[in-house]
Symmetry: C2
Subunit: 146 residues, 2 copies
DNA sequence: TTGAATTAGTTGCATAACTAACTATATGTC
DNA sequence: GACATATAGTTAGTTATGCAACTAATTCAA
């Protein structure tokens, strides 16, 4: 086997999640330090509901790029925390519409602020053009494998 | 809260693991289709042992960016699969040196080939300069949070 | 209008992650 | 030499992921 294969392999370390894991860990830590007891995965669901309340679980799957069982269980846990509520759709009873609770509303500004701070820390020394280019590359990678 | 906060938030979807998850899933699928029953996490440990056999668990933590409990269990599972063996160090008995088995050696070329193919699919339409730039950005992000 | 196919969501099982608390060995200092 | 500290690794509990098999509701077509 050629050494070239190993050089290519190094890419995995960076394209495959090292930076993203670091961001997630930092944000999770910030939440905890401020006494906010939700996981970043739960937060990512809330994030999309803050943009638009009353999404179906399937719509949450699409928005978060997670699969159906993952959303089922995240919604389970968010319901236990009384942050969201499942409401069966009237038109199509297969569908659960997910609605935010009042408690979730109060989390919004506080956690958004932390998320922005974390992103600012993460992106220190990275220009807007670099960010855009990175996004474009990662989008192409995602599309290539979709 | 400003809309700007939500715009920044969009970055999470891409910097936070969507592309890397897609690559991991694809590689895992390729393994499975070729009857190779290891997970990509297990593979990532083997990958570093192929580069240098006989690393300690702590060295594997550093190489893979995983924490100690994660490596403990990955090595547990790799040992069950008879792909590696723990050997207590003679000089410092706290340390486990991890050695590849013969079975692991035969996996090397086959899985490396699949990893390269997967990367090629993932990186279709992405230039070498873009890859380098992306790596540099993700490295900076990682260093910012370290 | 009945029966097949599709869609939305759930459940079970295995693997993996993070945190915190733990054991065992080694080191360093008084 | 003995005790404090640091280091390597393990264990336990909770959360999350992927996959496959499942239920229930809806749609489509003969």
């Amino acid at each position: 086997m050629s050494d070239n294969q190993f050089k290519r392999g190094e890419l995995y370390s960076f394209i495959t999640g090292v930076a993203s894991t670091a961001i997630a860990r930092r944000l999770q830590k910030n939440f905890k330090q401020h006494g906010i007891d939700i996981t970043i995965e739960q937060w990512s669901v809330l994030y999309h509901l803050w943009k638009q309340d009353g999404l179906s679980q399937q719509e949450l799957c699409n928005a978060t790029f997670k699969d159906k069982p993952s959303i089922t269980r995240l919604v389970d846990n968010l319901e236990k925390l009384k942050l969201v509520k499942r409401v069966a759709s009237v038109e199509d009873r297969r569908i659960n519409m997910i609605y935010l609770s009042g408690a979730a509303a109060t989390l919004r500004d506080q956690t958004m602020e932390m998320a922005n701070q974390t992103l600012n820390e993460a992106l220190g020394g990275v220009s807007t053009e670099e960010i855009e280019m990175c996004k474009s590359v990662l989008q192409r990678v995602y599309d290539n494998l979709k």
